[in-house]
């Protein structure tokens, strides 16, 4: 992998001046992922969502590479179509360059409405890297719950009310579902661990076939959290075992980072307004359930990776 100095010298395909919120995780993730492509040209596709609406307001575009947005639920099928066109032209000798194909979707466009399109595209083996910037709710439409929203989190459609204390259900483990597609490469990453993230994006771009990256993307507007704490929150998510860093290569699970000493989940939760109600005495049980879930998921992951506690 390139050194930090080499990485900073690489051209940036996402230019500054886009309209993402201050402290948004998505643009940091995009820049880290695109660093992995090095000097190889990329075509980027985006699902409808924050990243798309803030980077391509006609007549402006923040994308220096080719970019396509089609609709909310079809970014995977769309990039699959682009990649297929590339393969035909390559076969016919009409294109000489190597081009990489990267799709970005939020958790809405990936876990939920775009799930079928994603699954189909992965199963068909298109040579693409799909990156989910997972901010754990539908932020673009105003912070509604998604299947990536953790239990207990307050969103505008799972508000912490007098009777129901936030989202009743646990989040869906999409990374594992993607691994179950038996594609060459699946990984989970965090922008706080940039070296790990870029290496995973490099792996995803280098395999022959589909790759999937699930990246935690703090959302100061929706979680809500301090705009200057984005990386810290992302790091704590890893250190609390809430967001483990791992990869699945050719079916083999591997932990890519193991916290030396687990930080209590509460430290991460306290930095975010969506969990504030969980610290009220009447919601103690919900907090315990969330913690138990995180621990159980962590143990299951360790087992898959052949690691000890």
């Amino acid at each position: 992998m390139a050194t930090l100095r080499e990485l900073t010298a690489l051209p940036e395909a996402l230019s500054p001046g886009h309209r993402l919120c201050a402290g948004c995780g998505a643009s940091i993730i995009v820049r880290q992922v695109l660093k992995a492509a090095g000097n190889t040209p990329v075509v980027v596709a985006c699902a409808t969502g924050c990243l798309e609406v803030t980077t391509t307001i006609y007549p402006y575009t923040a994308w220096r590479c080719s970019f396509i947005h089609n609709a909310f639920e079809n970014v995977a099928a769309t990039i699959g179509g682009v990649e297929t066109a590339y393969r035909v032209l390559k076969k016919k000798g009409k294109i000489k360059e190597d081009i990489k194909f990267i799709a970005f979707g939020g958790d809405g466009g990936t876990f939920d409405i775009g799930f079928q399109s994603l699954s189909g595209t992965m199963e068909r083996g298109h040579n693409i890297l799909y990156v989910c910037y997972d901010n754990e709710a539908y932020m673009n439409t105003g912070i509604q719950r998604s299947s990536a929203t953790p239990k207990g989190a307050s969103t505008t459609t799972s508000p912490a009310g007098k009777v129901v204390p936030g989202k009743p259900e646990h989040r869906k483990d999409l990374t594992a579902i993607m691994a179950a597609h038996n594609i060459p490469y699946v990984a989970q990453a965090s922008p706080s661990h940039w070296r790990d993230l870029i290496r995973k994006a490099e792996n995803g771009l280098s395999v022959d076939g589909p790759a999937f990256l699930n990246v935690l993307s703090p959302c100061p507007r929706g979680w809500p959290s301090e705009t200057d704490k984005t990386i810290e929150i992302a790091r704590l998510a890893v250190e609390t075992n809430y967001w483990p860093l791992f990869e699945v290569e050719d079916g083999k699970w591997r932990l890519t980072y193991k916290p030396r000493k687990k930080v209590p989940l509460e430290d991460w939760l306290r930095m975010q307004g969506r969990f504030r109600h969980l610290f009220k005495p009447e919601n103690a049980a919900v907090l315990e359930e969330l913690k138990a879930f995180v621990d159980a998921q962590w143990r299951a992951l360790l087992e898959r990776c052949g690691e000890q506690e």
Binding site: P41, V43, A45, E52, V53, T56, I57, Y58, P59, T61, W63, R64, C65, S66, F67, I68, H69, N70, A71, E73, N74, A76, A77, T78, I79, G80, G81, V82, T84, A85, Y86, R87, V88, L89, K91, K92, I95, E97, I99, Q116, S117, S119, G120, T121, E123, R124
Partner: protein
């Protein structure tokens, strides 16, 4: 399989409508096809799979998991500067709905055969036009075919119409499910070389894959520009008429077969006329011949293009007519008749001579329409010609009331 591996010269052959479509697609040999099987379109996907499996085409075939993904992938491919096609029917078309509009507004020259089938619900697999009529305002050009030959010819012409720089709009080529798609007919196929020459090379103005000139496709377009882009789209549809005529003329030169916006059958001195789309025109022509033998001045207009709508041509064709029946193989549930009826009547508003118009909604869900049904329509028109007072405007033909 009765689709030949190659057609070295003009050849007469007995094929089904779906086979004719598959042959046209094979001769066009698009770079990318993405499709999902649905009755009655299924054969097309199966034939195309065989072409790929047998190495008869260089096309990359994406066997998608849904029609939504079919149209999405085709949009991605077309934006990458290649020829891309799909085919569908009914609910498959409905599932594509959202992306149909995106394909049109992105100005991608995609060609798609639509094998017309009744749209659910209730679920039904047989022919009517509720699927493509529902997509009539999606910004696609729509051509309707009377038989397998026309479906074949329309698909080949559609490539040229879609890709014309004055147009750059996607084209649907509609053919009636089962009635055309599964019936065996004689067609005259052009040679592979003739088709290749006719369609030529597709050279897009911009492509996602041009790394030296990167582009952004599908940006957020708000109140400051969206309207201008929609206006440009409307202009393109207006310009499409001239291109459809030019392409038809060139096509006549290579095939001897002539196409226009509409076909007039015994309209020269017609006093009463019926307007139809698709395969019903065949039955209606027999009805006209039979009525003419009894001295009734019956005529027929078959619409080939529904989008753009040939209002001027229709006004001219109906100038001497005393009463018109418009047959709709779909209802619009507007409580004032079907979609073809609404368009025809609207077109006649500006005519110097406005004949009384009647709407006959027929054949929904594949209900058979026979010679006697069409004769019944003409008989009604005769009545209208004599005394139009007190007559009913919208009729449902051949239904148990």
């Amino acid at each position: 399989m009765s689709v030949p591996a190659d057609v070295p010269e003009v050849k007469r052959m007995a094929v089904t409508g779906n086979e004719a479509v598959a042959l046209a697609m094979k001769q066009i040999e698009p770079d990318v096809v993405a499709a999902y099987p649905i009755t009655p379109q299924t054969d097309i996907v199966q034939y195309f799979s065989s072409f790929v499996a047998d190495g008869l085409v260089q096309t990359e075939f994406i066997r998608v998991e849904s029609e939504h993904s079919a149209m999405s992938a085709v949009v991605g491919a077309a934006a990458s500067g290649v020829r891309a096609m799909t085919a569908t029917s009914a609910n498959g078309l409905a599932l594509m709905w959202e992306v149909l509009y995106i394909a049109a507004s992105t100005r991608l020259p995609i060609v798609m055969p639509v094998v017309n089938r009744a749209l659910s619900g209730p679920i039904n697999i047989h022919c009517d036009h509720s699927d493509s009529m529902g997509a009539r305002d999606s910004g696609w050009i729509q051509l309707y075919s009377e038989n397998a030959q026309e479906a074949y010819d329309n698909i080949i012409q559609a490539v040229r119409i879609a890709e014309h720089p004055d147009v750059l709009l996607p084209v649907m080529v509609c053919l009636d499910g089962f009635i055309i798609s599964h019936a065996l007919e004689n067609i005259e196929a052009l040679s592979d070389a003739t088709v290749r020459r006719f369609i030529g090379e597709w050279v897009p103005a911009a492509s996602l894959l041009d790394v030296d000139r990167p582009i952004t496709v599908g940006p957020l377009d708000l109140y400051d520009y969206y309207f201008e882009h929609k206006r440009q789209q409307a202009e393109a549809m207006m310009r499409a008429g001239k291109v459809i005529e030019e392409v038809a003329e060139e096509f006549a030169a290579i095939s001897g077969r002539h196409y226009g916006f509409l076909e007039e059958y015994r309209m020269d001195d017609a006093a009463i006329a019926v307007i139809v789309l698709g395969s019903t025109a065949g039955t209606a022509k027999v009805a006209v011949d039979s009525l003419r033998k009894s001295g009734i001045k019956a005529g027929l207009i078959k619409l080939r293009t529904f989008r753009p709508f040939p209002a001027g041509e229709l006004r001219r064709a109906l100038a001497g007519v005393k009463a018109v029946a418009i047959m709709d193989r779909a209802d619009s549930f507007s409580a004032m008749g079907g979609p073809v009826f609404a368009e025809v009547r609207s077109a006649l508003y500006e005519a110097d001579h406005r004949p009384p118009c009647f709407n006959f909604i027929y054949g929904l869900g594949g209900r058979d329409v026979g010679l006697e049904d069409i004769i019944e329509v003409y008989t009604y028109l005769q009545q209208a010609e004599e005394d139009p007072e007190g007559l009913v405007t919208v009729h449902y033909l051949g239904v148990r009331e």
